[in-house]
């Protein structure tokens, strides 16, 4: 099905199942420990051996020798693979920046350099410690602040100029009566999903099956084929349950490559997981940024000039953290300028983490907006509303498909009690606590990606949905079941959903908050086909409607199951998109409100209240969507207050590479969270009229926290995370 014109009325609009708060259909499995994750599929292949991965102990250089003699002789060892067994690195897919394995070169710390396979985990681990490696270390660049000034501009995509300009920023900024020019930093961050990267690999002749933890099955299959130099059709990837990804499992990693190599060498299935201390340097991370924002405004608060630039680093051939993208679309101003610089750093690979670009970009832009509002003596909510735009500022005849940011801000302000905020910072006290409120806007684009699915009407009337879509905690199982139930007129529990298998039709996968809308739209297309097949089988026209397990036309009401009396009916289709996302800017919007308390004696911050109001099209399952948003808000608390990969600038690695040193938010950090969804189905996004929501909740929340802290303390910290040492000295003296 090609989606080229805005969606008209369709069966989804009935909202008998879709749009209702629905408990997850996989909930019983997950809460009872019966959902098998990658490492746990004991019964898929007999006689599984255990792999243990060894990581490089230097950040850059060459391996001159590796002695595996002791490891090979160790008890229980079945196979040892060293990186020098391969003269060259294994080919990498277009999604990987650093090589995953092979050859003498070390590109980053903890890059995989060896695998030990043994009968037991304990034996593999012990033997891995017996490998002796000699390195020739080379100097590397590990310091973004040092490298940034000389870093080259990032070329504009698709032939666009390096510096994106609208109007004449320099002149407008110089002439602006009120100006703000500030620099900010955001640190390297780690996905730190709870399930480590893990794989079981089994060969059957020249065919390979991997049970792994990956967000993008079709990409993973193609990438693995490239890296292993084999035809993709000989590979099957299976990931029915994924213990979190957040972008860290978009691409294949060393676990799946080494499990495959290990299984080949061992002549039996191999299972392995990256150890927690290896994950943060072996895999990808969100790169640190140094950003600068310049805002020019009239005295009554109209922005006339906006500039945003960002510098980040990555390995050679890597990508920038696109922290300036939202600034091209969020606020009106006739004169604008954005650009990025990318330094070569020899740290581990930087890559996508939840809301790449917008997450650190909005932490900065929305702090700058707060500073500007204060300079103007304006309320930060009103300042944002005054500078709203309903069109793409660079192409004023291109409007947003839907944009209700103003309503997000007004509704949020009302609900949160924003009018009680004292605009003067450091005025509100409760005992030892300094209290403040902060606001920020959230913004993230809605991406359209083609997505396929298959649906089968079984004998007896049950429905089975099959697609390689993944559920990484997003609730895919449930919204796909809701979609099928709504389209075919059956109750939710008449639908079985099977996901994450590369033998199923290729979906959009889980990333960039595109999974929900696109995967359900793909299933919608398959359901339209199945409805036609059912109607034809039953001798009805395409006007028949499907409800209560029946197919109804005029006087006739036939049981749906009757259509499968002779055998199952299977329909497969995909959704593809025309140019609606070119004609219209499709984005999602939010307002974030936060109340923070800062201990006047210790500088410790406590988040007291959080509210997000989201404008993200039709919400398919308000229960799971709310969870996506609160989860993202929680990640935003970590980003604002505690998360930072500490760079050892001498040796070139992240020092705090485990969950004790890298501090994500825990229960004690998170208060009760409120989420509201505005109800604006977007007919230009897909037949589902839904948009992404999984990343929106993270966009802007960090700045709302920072602004609340400033309102509490009067101390502006522009280097995230806002740890107590950064403001303690400057806190107001207690009377």
């Amino acid at each position: 099905m090609k989606f080229e014109t805005p969606a008209g009325k369709n069966p989804i609009d009935q909202l008998k199942v879709v749009g209702r708060a629905t408990s997850r259909i996989d909930g019983r499995l997950k809460t009872t420990g019966n959902a098998p994750y990658a490492y746990e599929q004991h019964d898929v292949a007999a006689h599984q051996a255990y792999g243990f991965v060894v990581g490089a102990a230097i950040a850059k250089g060459r391996i001159t020798a590796m002695d595996t003699t002791l490891a090979r002789a160790a008890p229980g060892v079945v196979a040892v693979i060293g990186t020098l067994d391969h003269a060259q690195p294994l080919p990498k897919s277009r999604f990987n920046t650093a090589h995953l394995f092979g050859g003498p070169q070390v590109e980053h710390y903890h890059q995989a350099i060896a695998l030990v396979v043994a009968d037991s985990f304990e034996q593999a681990r012990a033997a891995a410690a017996l490998i002796r490696t000699d390195y020739a270390r080379e100097p590397g660049q590990f310091d973004l602040a040092k490298a940034a000034p000389d870093a080259p501009l990032v070329p504009g995509s698709k032939g666009k100029p390096d510096v994106a300009r609208v109007g004449d920023f320099d002149t407008a900024f110089t002439q602006a009566p009120v100006q703000l020019d500030r620099s900010y930093t955001t640190p390297d961050e780690s996905h730190a999903m709870m399930e480590p990267h893990a794989t079981i690999a089994a060969w059957d002749g020249d065919r390979l099956t991997v049970w792994t933890s990956n967000q993008m099955i079709a990409w993973g299959k193609a990438s693995l084929a490239t890296t292993l130099g084999m035809p993709p059709e000989k590979i099957r990837l299976n990931a029915p349950f994924i213990g979190g990804g957040f972008g860290g499992k978009l691409f294949i990693r060393a676990d799946v490559v080494l499990a495959a190599l290990g299984a080949k060498a061992a002549g039996r299935p191999v299972k392995l997981a990256l150890t927690r201390p290896m994950m943060m340097n072996n895999t990808t991370h969100r790169p640190a940024t140094i950003q600068r924002v310049r805002l020019g405004a009239t005295r009554d608060g109209k922005l006339t000039a906006i500039a945003h630039s960002s510098a980040s680093g990555d390995l050679p051939g890597g990508d920038p953290e696109a922290a300036v993208s939202q600034t091209q679309l969020l606020y009106a101003a006739p004169h604008r300028e954005t650009f990025m610089k990318l330094a070569v750093l020899d740290l581990p690979e930087g890559n996508a983490m939840r809301a790449p670009g917008e997450a650190p970009g909005l932490m900065v832009l929305e702090m700058a907006m707060d500073e500007m509002a204060e300079k103007l003596g304006m309320d930060p909510v009103e300042f944002r509303i005054l500078n709203d735009t309903q069109v793409d500022p660079a192409k004023p005849d291109r409007s947003f498909s839907q944009r209700h940011l103003i309503e997000c801000l007004r509704t949020g302000a009302e609900k949160f009690g924003w009018s009680k905020r004292n605009p003067k910072p450091a005025q509100v006290r409760e005992g030892r606590w300094l209290i403040g409120m902060g606001v920020a806007a959230g913004f993230r684009n809605n991406l359209l990606m083609k997505s396929a699915a298959r649906i089968r009407l079984e004998r007896g009337g049950r429905l089975t949905v099959e697609t390689d879509m993944t559920d990484i905690g997003t609730g895919s199982y449930t919204i796909l079941a809701q979609t099928a139930a709504e389209m075919m007129g059956v109750p939710l529990d008449a639908v079985t959903v099977k996901l994450g298998d590369s033998d199923f039709p290729a979906s959009a996968g889980s990333g960039g908050q595109w999974g929900g809308n696109n995967s359900t739209a793909g299933l919608y297309a398959a359901c339209v086909k199945l409805r036609a097949m059912v109607a034809q089988t039953l001798g009805l026209s395409e006007n028949a409607h499907f409800a209560d397990g029946k197919v109804i036309e005029g006087e006739k009401a036939l049981p749906l199951a009757q259509a499968a009396r002779e055998g199952p009916l299977t329909a497969e289709d995909l959704i593809e998109y025309g140019t609606l996302d070119k004609q219209y800017q499709q984005s999602t919007f939010a307002s974030h409100f936060v109340e923070a308390a800062v201990d006047a004696y210790t500088g410790e911050t406590r988040i007291r209240r959080m509210l997000a109001v989201c404008d993200a099209g039709r919400i398919l399952n308000p229960k799971a969507a709310r969870s996506q948003v609160i989860g993202a808000m929680t990640m935003g608390v970590g980003a604002a207050l505690s998360e930072e990969l500490a760079v050892d600038k001498r040796f070139g690695y992240f020092v705090n590479h485990d969950l004790a040193g890298y501090e994500v938010a825990v229960h004690a950090d998170i208060p009760h969270q409120e989420v509201m969804f505005l109800d604006y189905p977007d007919d230009k996004s897909s037949p589902m009229k839904a948009k992404g929501v999984g990343e929106l909740g993270l966009c802007g929340v960090g700045a709302a926290i920072a602004n609340a802290i400033y309102n509490a303390t009067g101390v502006r910290v522009r280097d995230y995370p806002i740890t107590l040492d950064k403001h303690l000295e400057h806190l107001p003296v207690l009377a």
């Binding site: 809460t31 002791l70 002789a73 304990e122 012990a126 017996l130 270390r137 994924i242 979190g244």
Partner: protein, 211 residues
């Protein structure tokens, strides 16, 4: 204690100096002698009572309780998030107390009664806490969830028994089932999906019903 200082340098310091000078040779690896080929791992017998069933196992002495459950009994509900006592995904209830099963060796648990998530309830017969987690959507990816649920059940028990926590105003008074109290006691269980707010609702729900 400062043996490295006796020589006026540390291993790290040598490496720093070396890297400043350009390429430098570094070794990483063992200094101990190799075990002889054919050595068998040292195993010992242990009996555990897991979810009411006795299991007599012969285990590598290095096997953690966590791996005994996951790899030997195939009770995959107990999760390995870090293997270092940093995340709580491996929480199980041993003789009535919750512990991180990655932090103890299986052999330390001779005769112990272990309750895992599978022992609390099944898909057809949910424990009230499991049902409350589903109703309040107290999870997303589900990987931390068995640990959260085992902790949640144990925490309500701790509060009932009057086990104090450091957020209590009065440490000798009976602890309350307050949001702050629950959050404090649950903070050893990380949920990167960020379901905390919903987990609190699930726990309050169960606490309210059993109160």
């Amino acid at each position: 204690m400062k043996s490295g200082d006796a020589f006026g340098f540390s291993r790290r310091g040598v490496l720093v100096g070396g890297s400043a000078a350009g390429a430098v040779l570094v070794h990483a690896g063992p200094v101990q002698a190799a075990p002889a080929k054919g050595d068998v791992p040292v195993t010992m017998p242990v009996s555990l009572e897991v979810n009411g069933t006795r299991h007599d196992l012969q285990l590598d002495t290095r096997t953690t309780l966590l791996d005994a459950l996951r790899e030997h009994l195939h009770l995959i509900g107990t999760k390995k998030g870090c293997d270092h006592g940093q995340c709580g995904a491996c929480t199980v209830i041993v003789n009535g107390e919750r512990i991180n099963s990655c932090l103890s060796l299986a052999l330390q648990h001779q005769g112990d009664k272990v309750t895992t998530i599978e022992g609390l309830g099944t898909p057809d017969k949910l424990h009230p806490m499991q049902a409350a987690f589903i109703e309040h959507d107290g999870f997303q990816c589900g990987y931390c969830t068995p640990g959260q649920i085992c902790s949640a059940v144990a925490v309500l028990g701790e509060i009932r028994r009057g086990v104090p926590s450091h957020v209590q105003e009065d440490i000798v008074a009976a602890p309350a089932v307050s949001n702050q109290e629950l959050r404090e006691r649950m903070s050893g269980n990380i949920c990167r999906c960020g379901a905390y707010s919903n987990i609190m609702e699930a726990m309050q729900h169960v606490a309210g019903e059993s109160a």
